[in-house]
Symmetry: C2
Subunit: 290 residues, 2 copies
Amino acid sequence: MMAQPIAVAIHGGAGNMTPENLPSEKAKQIEAYLRDVVEEAHRLLSEGRLALEVVEIAVRRLEDAGWFDAGIGSYLNERGFIEMDASIMDGKTRRTGAVAAVRGVRNPITLARLVMERTSHVFIVGEGADSLARIWALPPLRNEVPTISPGVVTQGTVGAVALDKYGNLAAATSTGGIAGKKVSRVGDSPIIGAGTYAENGVIALSATGYGEYFIRSVLTYDIAARIRYAKMTPAAAIQSAFKERLESIGGTGGVIAVSPQGEVFFHFNTSGMYRAGKDSAGRLTVGIYK
Amino acid sequence: MMAQPIAVAIHGGAGNMTPENLPSEKAKQIEAYLRDVVEEAHRLLSEGRLALEVVEIAVRRLEDAGWFDAGIGSYLNERGFIEMDASIMDGKTRRTGAVAAVRGVRNPITLARLVMERTSHVFIVGEGADSLARIWALPPLRNEVPTISPGVVTQGTVGAVALDKYGNLAAATSTGGIAGKKVSRVGDSPIIGAGTYAENGVIALSATGYGEYFIRSVLTYDIAARIRYAKMTPAAAIQSAFKERLESIGGTGGVIAVSPQGEVFFHFNTSGMYRAGKDSAGRLTVGIYK
């Protein structure tokens, strides 16, 4: 019997990082962290864990890192406090959970998953979402110690996509949004079809970048639709969606994807994107710059 | 010179209304209101007003009606107060504005439009959105008198789509969400690509129904994608999207659409949808039941 393919990819945000502005010591540290997260995710998939579980676990680790614009590393809004957005999608059932503008929870991705599992809703924001986090006794955001480095400049949204050995795709995205954003501004990360999308047999996607443009482009679902309806390859769908939908209105950012065959894709139009992946052939990719 | 086509359609929500459970006197009153809103919208379009302005004006009147689940007529959440969602999209530029879980504003659709016009963001929720409504001195929700009838059972989300004489499409949707919903639950109405979508040359759409299923289906953008990428007619795209995307996971509701040629479409899988439209040939449609 042929082994079922598994694959995983993660990102820590697209941005303007270059070898000139990011100290090489720091870059090495981040790459090691990304590699560790993706290797653990791949191992869990090989052990038979569901894609949905694995993307949540991977995103939790990225939220906890402190380096990325998610969880404890989130940018502050215009009034100086953190508000976070996250979503998760199960490609098998198209069930989803999302939260936005939450303030008090350490791992918004877990809150998003519990919205999916424990309520009849899919998207809960602000006070209502923070209230559920307290009711469900999720660890609070405060008093956390970033894993990598406290006080460093954060960089971008985090996300994960995976294919498990049962053929299920899943995607998860989490962010602190734009630095200095208005209170309770929501970006693309919690929007199904904009920042996150997964559907078995089609594609799993997580985006990063200037969220307003990804919302206006319905970017991740546009990529899925090009694959389904225009019969494009994932690579062609991603490239043409960026060009025709996102860049045509001035949008910048990136996306990661895993196909039903276990291919891994990275695409970004910025100078860098923190990323790592391991495809169905076991090929490991870790990178920051173009 | 041939006249440029104009068209408009509005809805007051899909639901379980039937000639048996909706008193005929009330039905006549609602139909008269819908006719009046759509006739005014059509007149404004004929005078050269932009589709974007007209959909906002139409939705404001539906929010003010008191009969529909939007504005003053909104359902109450689990704690007994109103929280509203709305979005608007300009098909010419793909600019959008959206708000969710707002409590204190009479016309969420106008707040959504101002988010689009006056901020660098496209989606602001909860406290942040209510704060902007106060800063911009928008009329508050309280102390309003419903236009049609206070105290009646409300029925559904409202929306409008239009084609102006310059070839621009626009869409707008506004809702009070599901009765008894959790605090700050967000449905599909403020989600671009789920409850609302407009793109010149493609289609303008506004949806109504059980929002969770529309989010999971990315329903309005799926319809647009079928038109763009699968080269379907709008009618075929709407029918197949409902069947393959929404009904396959148990979703119920409806959608209204206007095409770039000025055709008007209504589709719903419930027993009724409050609706009215006037197409490029000047044909008026007003209806409630199948």
